[in-house]
Structures are given as structure tokens and as C-alpha cells.
Amino acid sequence: MTAPGAGPGAGAGAGPGAGARPGIPPGAGTGPAGPAPAPGLQPERTELAWRRTALAVAAVSLLGARLLPALFGHAVWLLPGLVGTGLAGYLWIAARRRHARRTPVPARGPGPDTPGAGLLALTGAVGVAIGLGALAVVISLHV
């Protein structure tokens, strides 16, 4: 939950007494300073989770770009790592668009419609692809 002291300067210009936000019933926020900019900062937390995930994909991809050419001795093996890094950049940007599409979130009740989950499916597919690639690499070291 939002800290009671999340008052002045807590975000987005919603200073004390900023009770005029449409869609937020009076007293919906916590603390005496008025409603929080967005209760629980849920969309922000979700965008940060997307950024962590994009950074994890980028880190694994860059490791791949370092590892694969060294293991197999040809520059073409840079490609998977570079593609993965590009995908990580795409995830970062697409998550920002997703974030923008569903803010602000009202204090309770339905907000903007949940966007479709194509980006989640893509992220899962990237995870599976990285796993299969890693499996192929480890097995190839033993044959």
C-alpha cells in the first residue's frame, strides 16, 4: 500500500488537496494529503516489471553474443545475441506503449480496457527460444 507520507512531491503533480481528479472518489487515496496519483502505482510497477524483464533478455542475449562466437569460432554466431538484444529493445518500447494505453487507473472498479496479451505471448516465446537454444549449445558441447 502507498505509504501514508506519500504527500507533496510524491508524483505527477498531485499535491495536497488535489481532489479534482475525475474518476477517483473522495477519500480513495491513502493519507491526509489527498488521493494518491494512482492507487498503488500499479501501472508504474507493471512497466518497471517489463523493464526488468527486457533487461534480463538483453543481458542473456549479450552473454550469448559473447559466448557463441567463442565456442563455435565464426562471426555469424553473433547473430542470435544481436537479435535477442533487439527484441529486448522492442519489449522495452512496446511496454511503454502498453503502459500509456491504460493509465490512469481509477481507485476501484474497471479502468481502461485490458490490452490484448500478444506482448506477453511474444515474451514467453522468447523465453522458450532462449531455452531451446541453450539446450542445443550445451548438448553440442558433448557430441
Binding site: A56, V60, R101, V105, P110, P115, A121, G131, V137, V138
Partner: protein, 125 residues
């Protein structure tokens, strides 16, 4: 962009045809949980690759076994996470109780098995 599209046009239809728009915060939390599983999957795969490529002084068979267990579980996890995200989102949209899961317990078991393999691999080198 299909942001104003009808409910049936959002992917996956098997989720968005069910029920009505849930509380956005619960939907957002479901999404963060999915992403956390994806990062867990990446960590498992990275750990498995590291075991085999860092040239660690371990019994080779056990090292390979630990590596394969890590990578295979890391490869399956995104599929499980996606199926799980869909189940939760459907439950949120239809207002039904959230299902229980044993994924966490199973994963804990897998990591424990990897720990035992690594320990034996170090002791028996």
C-alpha cells in the same frame, strides 16, 4: 492498433471472450506475476549454461545433468507461465475463485535436485 476493438478481437480470444473487464489492478498484478516467471526462466537457463561453459572442476556427468535439468525447466517455465496467466485472467474476468498452483513447489524441488547434483559433482570430482 486495436485498443478500442471489441472484446473478441483481443488476443487470446479464449481469455477475452470470458466475463467482463476486471479490476485493472488485479489484471496488472497478474501480468507482473507472468513477467516474474519469465525472469525466473531466464535465470534458470543462464545458470544451466554457466555450469557447462565456465569450465568448473566437477564430475562431468553430474555437471551435465544439473545443467540439463536447469535448462529444461527454464524452457518449460514460460509455457507454464502463459497457461497460468490465461487461467488467472479468465478467473478474474468471470469473478470465480483464483485456482491454486503447485508450480512453485515443483520448482523448489527442481532447484533442490540441482543443488544435490552440484554438491555431489563437487565432492566426487
Amino acid at each position: 492498433m486495436s485498443e478500442v476493438a471489441g472484446a473478441g478481437r483481443r488476443f487470446p480470444g479464449s481469455v477475452f471472450r470470458v466475463g467482463s473487464e476486471p479490476d485493472a489492478r488485479f489484471s496488472l498484478a497478474n501480468e507482473r506475476t507472468f513477467l516474474a516467471w519469465i525472469r525466473t526462466s531466464l535465470a534458470l537457463v543462464a545458470g544451466g549454461v554457466a555450469l557447462e561453459t565456465l569450465g568448473l572442476d566437477m564430475q562431468p556427468g553430474l555437471r551435465l545433468a544439473a545443467s540439463i535439468v536447469l535448462i529444461v525447466s527454464g524452457t518449460l517455465l514460460p509455457l507454464i507461465a502463459w497457461a497460468w496467466w490465461m487461467r488467472i485472467e479468465r478467473a478474474l474476468r468471470s469473478g470465480s475463485p483464483l485456482p491454486a498452483t503447485i508450480v512453485g513447489v515443483v520448482l523448489a524441488g527442481v532447484v533442490a535436485v540441482v543443488g544435490v547434483l552440484v554438491l555431489l559433482g563437487v565432492l566426487l570430482r
